[in-house]
Structures are given as structure tokens and as C-alpha cells.
Amino acid sequence: MGATTVVKARPARPPSPPETSAPRRTGRVPTGPGRRRRRAGMLMVAPALLHASLWIGLPVVVSVALAFTKYDVLTAPEFVGLANFRDMLDDAVFRKSVVNTLLYTFFTVPFGMALGLLVALALHTGLKARGIFRTAVFLPQVTATVAIALVWLWIYNPGNGLLNMMLSFLGIDGPAWLSSTTWALPSVILVGIWQGIGMKMLIYLAALQSLPRELYEAASVDGASRVRQFFSITLPLLKPATFFVLITSMISAFQSFDQIYILTDGGPANSTTMMTYEIYKSAFREFRVGYASAQSLVLFVLLMGFTLVNKRIMGGSRGHN
């Protein structure tokens, strides 16, 4: 569990801090300190609640409403029913973006998870220098995606970027990575995997450290090989962590934007465009705000759908997200 224990929403606390004074059941109008206390509580939540209502609650409502309109910001929104959704079906570029988003997620998440788990297992062996290794692996995670993308833009530079420089040492003529319709998406995916390993490693490491040692001792006594132990004990016990990593990485993979903006602008020939990038384009370049809202709704529904399916497959109501 490790990381996930914290995140799990605790079920209503057992009759928590007893409200010392003013027994709660006596009447509808409690007086005295209990009442003052409750009022203080509401006051303390108020600023956060106000902020969330205006910047999360209201936007969600507006977003759903706008999805059924034609709106260009300048003139009033006009109700168009499901037209935006029908347009989306005909929109080849949007379809492409859905496929790309799925491909990007499909490659960055499982590969990143496998690598993250491997590194976590290696770090879990109690090496002396583990701190240094962990720091190195985690570094890309705290760095801005824009900065990371700019550096990779330079690494992928066809003429004298690092990658092709290395390849030419081996006598290979590297392609123009980001301007090739074949290589652009894989190049973007590689950056995604590279940047995301740290996070996945960290959660796995936290989970590994909370596994009960006795099980392994018992298994060793029974003569189970280390590989066997991994598959029969470690992996099943890591299930909640795996679920958690899967969901959270999927959510962030689905929402990748910065790297696309910097690395390829969705090109060449829409080969790397993502749903987020199409939403951005519809809204802020073409001013089709209603259409963009409908697209963002599809993104939201897809994400929710995947989350629920995963939950089913993993059979876990644990690892609450």
C-alpha cells in the first residue's frame, strides 16, 4: 500500500473529536462554544470553498453547457444541440488526435511503469548510493515540461543534435526525428517515458518498503526462488500501488500538452496531435469555443471511462484516486 494508504479517503471517522460542549442532539439551535466552533469551521472552509466554486465548480457547469452551443466569444452562444458531437465524428484530425492520445498513453504508461518498477526494485535492495540514483531518476519530474521539451528538441535536432551525433559515431545516419511522420510520435513518446519514470519509480518504491518482510522469509524457508517470490508475493501485493500508478499516469498522459506544443505543434501532418492540442487549437486559434468544450467533454468522459474499466479489471476499490 505505502503511498496509497495516505491517499485513500478515510471513511467517516468514528465519532471523532467529541464536541465537548453543547450536546449535539439537544436542539436545533445549539448555543455556546459548540456553535461557535461550528461557525469557526465554516468560516475556515469558506475561502477554499469560494475559490473552488468559482474556478472549478462553475467552469465544469459552463463547460457542459457550452458543449451544446456554437460560440465564438464575440457573439452570444447559440444552442446547436448535438451538432458539435456530430462534427467531431466527421473531423478526421480530431479522430487522429484521439488515436494519437491513445497510442501515446498506451506506450508511455505501461513501458514507463515497467521501467519504474524495475528501477524501484533495484533501489529497494539497500544500495549505499540509492539516494543519488533516486535523485537522478526523479530529476526530470520536478523540471518543467517546457524546459524538458526544449532540451529534447535540441537533442533531436537532425543536424547536430546529441542523438544523431551519437548515431553517427556508430555510422548510422539518423532521421530528422521530429519532422518525420514516421518518427515524430515515437520521439514524443520517448520523451514521455523518460520524464515519467521518476514518478512511477517513487510510488513503487514507497509501496515496496511497506511490504511485510515475514512473507519473504517464509517463502525462502519454503525454498521459493527469488523470481517465484517476485511473481507470487511482490507483484500481487503491489496491486494497489500498480492501480494507483496506472490511473494517475493515465490521467496525466491523456492531458499531455506542453511537450506537443514545444516539440512538434501537432505536426508533421497532424502525426503527433493530441486531444488536448486539438482542444487548444479549436478554442484559442479558431475561436470555436463550443466545439472545444464538446471536445474537452469527450476527453473527460474517455478518462472517466478508462478509470472505471481499470478499476473493474484491477478489481480494486482500493488505491482510491
Binding site: 495516505v6 473552488a52 472549478i56 466569444v73 533501489l123 529497494h124 540514483f133 537522478a136 535540441w154
Partner: protein
């Protein structure tokens, strides 16, 4: 809390792969070190490449057969980069925003987290679940309406009471600071920390006649300092690294933040890699330093957060 153990030395003996008892120790260890070194190198090389490029001359960058290391170390690139684009102004803007977000988030979210954890009032449970739900709303569902709210903010930027006529909060500090100031995640995290405190603490304080705000500020909050540091670092990090929002709500150069500044510099001066990498290094440095200093809390926070 549960995740803090990350920095303690690993419980080596029982760990799944720990070859503590095995005879092949040295070989296994060496292989392990070698693999981890390669992985770490792969993670660090891009950063090194960034710094090395920022110290090369444009001529050397353009030449096909240049080596990895600069022939002559051009530290002057940094001075020139600051002249080529107002990176210092961008960094200052980012800094102001990140600090504001940090202060606001820590204050507002800790209060809310405290109240949700320790005070029962009508609807407090519902409220908590609303915050959890808010946590799950994807950025892209919110960003567009958020932009519209900023754009049509009544009585701001020449707007009338109905939000028409002007540009609202667009191109203002308000737009950069207010919408992202408080995060439901911070509320959630604070709540979890406050939940673990003993009841006796607040009861004693109440007997001493302290008011609720005092109990929160003087008695309970000092007990959860790690929560404050964690939230502060995570807020600063995501604010400093934010790109899309500042890109959307600002146009003027004087309000640009560092990440947007870099992206604009890239399109305007596409081939000046030495300047671009100098700017990127400058934009990366604060986070790297902050991370190295506050690693423990970052690790803990990220492990808890799982998402950004």
C-alpha cells in the same frame, strides 16, 4: 505519515531481491550498480547536454564535427541571453506568481483542511467529498471556462458589471495569480495530516480558553510542519513549471512567465541554441536547487499526490 520512510535506509535483508545472504553478492551488486548507473546517466545526460550547449559558441554548435565539451567555455552566453530576451523579468514574474500561489495555498488550504478534519458542522462531510471530486476534474475541462470567466470578469479591465466591453482580467496579475491559487489537492493533503493529531491537544487548548482560529494557528498547525513544507514545495513547483495558463491569459512581454518566455524565444530565435539553452538552464536551476534542498518533502508529497 506513511510515505516518509522513503529516505530511511532500506530494510535490506528481507527485500525481494536483496542478495544479502547469497554467495554471488559482489557480482550481483556490481551488475546492479552498473545498471542503475546507466539508467541514471540516461536521466541526467539531457541536463548536462543543455548546460554544455549553453556554454558553446554558435559557431561550434553549427559545426558538424564538434565534440561534446565546449572548445572554449563561453560563460558570457548567459549575460548575452539575458540581453537577447528579458529572461530576468520572466523569472521575476514566475517567482512572484509562484510565491503568491504558495502563500495563498498554504494559508487557505490549511484552514480548510483543518476545519474538515477536526470540526464537525453541517455539510462538512459532503464538502470533503466535493473537494475530492474536484481533485479529479481534468485540467482541460476547466481551462476554457476559466479563461472565459477571466475574460468576462465584471468591473475589471474596462468591463461593465455584466463583464462586457473590456478585457477583464486578461493580461493582469489577477489572472495569473487568483485562479490557480488554491488547489483541492492541498486541502486534501492538509486534512490527512490534521486528522492524525491527538484530540487532547485541542481540548487542552480549549480549556485554556483559546478560540478556534488560535487553536488552528498556534496549537495544531505547528504540529504538522511537514505538511506545510510539502504543500509549499509542491505548489511552488507546479506554479513555476506551469505553461498553458500563463500562455492563455497574458500577451504583454512584461507579464510573461519564464516557461512562456522560453517558448516564445524558441519561435522567434529558433536557431540560437546557445541562448535558448542558457535560458532553459536558468529556468531549470531554481527547481533543481529547491528539489535538492527539500527532497524529503518532495518525495513524500509526490508519492502522496501521484499526480500533478
Amino acid at each position: 505519515m506513511a510515505t516518509t520512510e522513503l529516505l530511511k535506509p532500506a530494510p535490506a535483508p528481507g527485500a525481494p531481491k536483496a542478495p544479502a545472504r547469497s554467495r554471488s553478492v559482489p557480482v550481483g551488486r556490481i551488475a546492479l550498480y552498473a545498471t542503475l548507473s546507466v539508467v541514471s546517466l540516461l536521466m541526467v545526460v539531457p541536463f548536462a547536454w543543455m548546460v554544455l550547449t549553453s556554454l558553446k559558441t554558435p559557431v561550434e554548435i553549427a559545426s558538424q564535427d564538434a565534440g561534446l565539451l565546449p572548445e572554449q567555455w563561453e560563460f558570457g552566453n548567459y549575460v548575452d541571453a539575458l540581453k537577447a530576451a528579458p529572461f530576468a523579468t520572466y523569472a521575476r514574474n514566475s517567482f512572484i506568481i509562484a510565491i503568491s500561489h504558495t502563500v495563498l495555498n498554504v494559508l487557505v488550504a490549511s484552514m480548510a483542511g483543518y476545519a474538515l478534519a477536526r470540526i464537525r458542522f453541517r455539510g462538512s462531510e459532503t464538502l470533503f467529498y466535493l473537494f475530492v471530486a474536484a481533485l479529479m476534474i481534468p485540467t482541460y475541462t476547466k481551462v476554457l471556462p476559466e479563461f472565459l470567466i477571466v475574460r468576462f470578469m465584471p468591473l475589471a479591465g474596462g468591463n461593465d458589471i455584466l463583464g462586457q466591453g473590456g478585457s477583464g482580467w486578461l493580461d493582469s496579475w489577477w489572472a495569473l495569480i487568483i485562479p490557480g491559487a488554491v488547489t483541492p489537492f492541498a486541502v486534501f493533503l492538509f486534512r490527512q495530516f490534521y486528522l492524525d493529531l491527538p484530540v487532547e491537544l485541542e481540548e487542552a487548548a480549549r480549556l485554556d480558553g483559546l478560540g478556534e482560529f488560535r487553536i488552528y494557528a498556534r496549537i495544531m498547525s505547528p504540529q504538522v510542519k511537514p505538511a506545510f513544507i510539502t504543500v509549499a514545495l509542491l505548489t511552488f513547483e507546479s506554479s513555476w513549471n506551469n505553461f498553458l495558463w500563463p500562455l492563455l491569459v497574458t500577451h504583454t512581454d512584461s507579464l510573461r512567465v519564464i516557461q512562456v518566455g522560453l517558448s516564445v524565444f524558441k519561435t522567434e530565435n529558433g536557431t540560437q541554441w546557445h541562448f535558448l539553452m542558457a535560458g532553459t538552464t536558468l529556468a531549470t536551476l531554481p527547481m533543481v536547487v529547491l528539489f535538492l534542498i527539500g527532497q524529503r518533502y518532495f518525495v513524500q508529497g509526490f508519492a502522496t499526490a501521484g499526480l500533478k
